[in-house]
Amino acid sequence: MRVLALDTSTSAVQAALVDLDGPAFEPELFLTAFRREVDGRGHVEKLGPFIEACLADAGRTVKDVDAVVAGVGPGPFTGLRVGMVTAAAFADGAGIPVYGVCSLDGIGGNTRGRALAATDARRKEIYWAVYEDGVREGEPQVGKPADLPETRADYAVGEGAAKYAAELPVPAEAGAVYPDLVKLVELAAPRLLSGAPSEQLTPLYLRRPDAQPAKGAVAPPARPASGA
């Protein structure tokens, strides 16, 4: 089957077409087209053209795409949402299912040994998770690099690791590594190949919106659940 994969959880705007064949426990994956540009503010301009370019490169049309896989973060919110709404709307428009995968798994999933995957959360923080031979332990976290708890990781990888190498208690790989779209498709393979129901994509936000209830703000009177 042919899968459109998108991830905008980091400063890289990424789109790919990936061919996937079963069986689910040992899927075969082939990257047929790929576009990436590192532009933290360019998600909404670039992602659409990237999808079109991937289709053109592969000599395919929308009708050839069987499913969509999207990284659901964690990631800086504005860019992340562009990728997710694009994935959801494309799937809805094409009448195909969409599946979400934790974007950090697109980095940590490719590691061996004990590794810390970290992306840039802005505001001097990182999104991070620990992987043992490519399998994540626990839920992704957000925090200051210097405040990281003891992870027993041997090394750190990802845009956030490279940026905050000096503050991390774990040696970091220098090159920026972004979520691997083929890996995201591989992680969704059991759902893709079994024809699992399409998903409502919910971002891994990890942070609450910055807003303080206003002094003296008055809530409107309750409205019936059916809405007004």
Partner: protein
């Protein structure tokens, strides 16, 4: 005869996720998911809260609109989306969705201006707009007098608020009076039992010295401060604040200056039609006073029903349908969301 274009409009510039569908000037669907209740406890729209709600509501709202219209995406002749102005993160959700729907379906895409869409929505109620027309656009985000020479491409700004939007002033004064958010409808209701002449609040930028530089501009921050001071003084004297009277006097000050300047603009530009749009155009006193003054000046006043005045997808669809009918080129797929989009850019055509 060519059939009228069927266009879906997507609007996410503030806190309403709106998807509307029109055929020509006929409204087929107007689905809106609002996050206004989530913003109430913050006393104003929180951009991040709005953006989260847009993402959640986007696809379901599109589906609801299609169901209501009894159409499929393949039936559309165009998809229009608000490209600006508005909250950047909120706009991006709608623009991202519209692009993806357009790519997935092959339906042409139009990135359009929110302000012109507020004007275009009137065609759904009252038919084609006589050009030229003066648009008075009043909402929580804007207070603008627009000259509409050609709704498909030539729209200019004659004046705008130099500080708060009129809707913001309504919200702030509502809070001072202990009324809920959003303040407009609550002030309107309270004012019905109040005395408009109870106190004369200031009319911003109405002095002779302002007529040169700010002839068609507005200012509402001084008015809001004046209301706050008046209430403070009253409380300091140990007296109760007559909520209905203050609401009526405040509302009168806003509506007086809005209508006065819009009528002046129409007269001075030889324009015979005035259109009201934006959430504050749902205000009963603004409609009443504008009607009175337009009649006295021999002008035609038009406005749509209150539900179409507030932000919605129908207005975006209405503008999109007008652009398709006028043969305007669709937008390129790489257009940005522009939070401060100029009023003169009606749609982001091929020439972006």
């Amino acid at each position: 005869m060519k059939t009228e274009p069927v266009v879906m409009g997507i609007e996410t510039s503030c806190d309403e996720t709106g998807v509307g569908i029109v055929r020509g000037h006929e409204l087929l669907a107007d689905a809106v998911a609002s996050s206004v209740d989530e913003h109430a406890r913050f006393g104003g729209v929180v951009p991040e809260v709005a953006s989260r709600a847009h993402l959640e509501a986007m696809v379901p709202t599109v589906q609801r609109a299609l169901d209501d219209a009894g159409l499929a995406l393949g039936d559309l002749d165009g998809i229009a989306v608000t490209a600006g102005p508005g909250l950047a993160g909120a706009l991006m959700v709608g623009v991202g969705a519209a692009k993806a729907y357009s790519i997935a379906t092959g339906v042409p895409l139009y990135g359009v201006n929110h302000l012109s869409a507020h004007i275009a929505v009137d065609t759904l109620e009252n038919g084609p707009i006589p050009e030229p027309a003066i648009g008075l656009l009043v909402s929580g985000g804007h207070s603008t007098i627009m000259m509409v020479e050609d709704l498909a491409g030539k729209v200019t700004q004659l004046g705008a608020s130099i500080d708060d939007a009129a809707g913001e002033a309504f919200d702030k004064v509502a809070r001072l009076l202990g009324l809920p958010f959003p303040g407009g409808p609550y002030i309107d209701r309270a004012a019905k039992d109040g005395d408009r002449a109870f106190v004369e609040f200031p009319r911003g930028l109405s002095a002779p010295k302002d007529q040169e530089r700010h002839r068609y501009d507005f200012s509402f921050s001084g008015l809001k401060t004046a209301v706050a001071r008046w209430i403070e003084a009253r409380r300091a004297d140990g007296e109760d604040v007559p909520v209905n009277d203050v609401a009526a006097a405040f509302q009168e000050a806003v509506c007086d200056v809005l209508t006065r300047k819009a009528i002046l603009a129409a007269k001075e530009h030889g324009v015979e039609t005035i259109l009201l749009g934006g959430g504050v155009a749902a205000n009963s006193r603004l409609r009443g006073l504008a009607a009175e003054r337009a009649e006295a000046a021999g002008l035609t006043l038009r406005y749509p029903r209150p539900k179409l005045c507030t932000d919605n997808g129908a207005m975006v669809a209405a503008l999109g349908s007008h652009l398709v009918a006028a043969g305007v080129a669709p937008s390129r797929i790489d257009f940005p969301a522009n939070s401060s989009m100029d009023v003169e850019v009606v749609s982001l055509a091929n020439t972006l």
